[in-house]
Symmetry: C2
Subunit: 306 residues, 2 copies
DNA sequence: CCTGACTCATAAAGCCAGCTTATGCCCCCA
DNA sequence: TGGGGGCATAAGCTGGCTTTATGAGTCAGG
């Protein structure tokens, strides 16, 4: 494609407003109605769709004096746009909860893996079922989650761990495994290669900064195999860790939830590890006693049918 | 959440440029380096991150005279942002192929379901493995795909159908099932409810416009049960169909690939159907003879390990 | 102990994308 | 033969993001 990849993605992909507009046109069958739904004028919508078509180099909408219909290419682009918008909705749900004031109707405390990969989807679903429910999110490790709950600073918690913390009741809502991944091309990526727990322990890995649940589980599991080596690289977000691993900087250990996409597309290769179990349960928890009522009950119900 | 939901998503979610910048900061550990990577100046990056923090109401980055690190909230937001950016990359890969000139190195013809749900991911992976491979995409039904291949207008095809079209060889790359979905609250959503093929045939459904592979399969499967009713609603994209179904307008039949997310979050409920099989194979196809070489071979290899 | 290299923040000024209002044309239906 | 819905074009405004230019804090090394 004659495009220089140096020009950033944001100049090649229409902005969210334009994508939302396109979805509205697909749904409503008219530029004008779509414009009204988004609170802009019809000429603004017209121009916006037109400039999106110019940017993509593809006609998306067939205009007629009786409305607008998607072209074949437009239908494809609209579906692809839908996935961006879905991700944006999850982002928004998460971000709102993150800034949510402590007086929210539902205060959730969750560990990182859950907050990263499961909670945004739950929040979107909760918002659909119980519109207007105000949720606040506090992310931290298991100990911090337990403390929030026991202090009454949170109504419902989610932890990733081997056992339910002292003073809490809980149910398993999902299961997660830590897996070792490397870039294709890494020596460990060879088919059939199995890494021993001892090898893994002796290898400097790309990891999140200390304190992450993943790292604690790994530490515990490898304690009897020589102990975890000092990291090769310490990064501040799972996304950064994945990026480093994909770029071939070295081996990493990540939640299965985190790398599904990358492993599917073979941007990362999963490495078998012998002699050590890295599975863990993800649990909803609350202070010992009756299960939460109200919005907490609604959210809890959601998590058990994903 | 004191936010009015009336203000559109695009005003509550930072734009792609800002999200890319945040990812770069997470990866590189410095606003200045991130700015350079994106080809903007350091003050621009500084201001952009700041305005994103203002927009979200959360501090994302801890600045210091020796660099910048993500806060705990920042790490979460960064991971959520990563998923938006991934979707945008798939969008971009697809859009480029859609506008790709006919002189591209690899000309792909694909049916809708595949072009919508599988191809963008494959193209991203192909771009990672073989940078610079120019791909063009032509979407159409199985007959159109076959024609393109036989006329030499396409190098590799993907069809969703019961059999390999005349004159082509092929391999199955994935399997898909059509499923009946309704909004929770629809009479058919009751647990244990099983719909008969005859009932389904007699019910007006929300469908894509005519000519879609989904609709053809449905038509064939229901022919012996009274024939498909006239649609309740005909919409121009899968996304629009899903939106109508979610909003409770009626029952719809969609590819399993299309509604995974919605069913997972129970925005849609899958309905069992008795007496009719709606599965179909998704195949890569090429003109009878040797399998494609060059970039076509690379793409084919990709599709068989997802 | 001071210099240079790195970090980030602030200020001033310019540009461009997208918005609105005001039109005009086209098609269909009553 | 109007009236209403639908889209396009033109002109003018505005706000956000950008760049350049600068200042201030931290650290390593001569």
């Amino acid at each position: 494609m004659s495009q220089e990849p140096s020009i950033p993605l944001s100049h090649r992909v229409p902005d969210l407003g334009a994508l939302e507009l396109l979805l509205a046109v697909a749904r409503l069958g008219s530029l004008g109605r779509a414009a009204k739904e988004l609170g802009i004028t019809q000429p603004a919508a017209s121009g916006r769709i037109r400039s999106m078509e110019r940017q993509l180099g593809v006609t998306l909408v067939e205009r007629s004096p009786r409305g607008s219909r998607l072209t074949a290419a437009g239908a494809l682009v609209t579906d692809w746009a839908g996935r961006i918008v879905e991700a944006a909705e999850a982002f928004d749900a998460g971000a709102r909860a993150l800034r949510g004031r402590r007086d929210s109707r539902l205060r959730v405390a969750a560990s990182m893996t859950i907050a990263e990969y499961l909670l945004p989807g739950w929040l979107v679903a909760l918002q659909a079922e119980r519109p207007g429910t105000a949720v606040s999110l506090l992310a931290g490790n298991s100990a911090a989650v337990a403390r929030q709950l026991l202090e009454g600073a949170a109504d419902l918690g989610f932890v990733e761990g081997l056992a339910v913390p002292e003073g809490l009741d809980g149910v398993v809502v999902a299961r997660d495994r830590l897996i070792v991944v490397v870039a294709p091309g890494h020596p460990w990526a060879r088919a059939g290669r199995v890494v021993t727990a001892r090898e893994l322990a002796a290898t400097p890995l790309i990891l999140r900064e200390e304190g992450s649940g993943t790292r604690q589980v790994l530490d515990a599991a490898l304690a009897e195999h020589g102990g975890l080596s000092a990291p090769l690289l310490e990064l501040s977000s799972t996304t950064a860790v994945k990026a480093a691993a994909v770029s071939g900087a070295g081996a990493s250990v990540l939640s299965e939830l985190a790398v599904g996409e990358e492993v599917g597309a073979r941007r990362l290769v999963r490495v078998e590890v012998a002699g050590v179990a890295l599975a863990r349960d993800l649990r909803a928890v609350w202070p010992t006693g009756p299960a939460p009522a109200g919005p907490g009950r609604d959210l809890l119900a959601l998590t058990r049918r994903g």
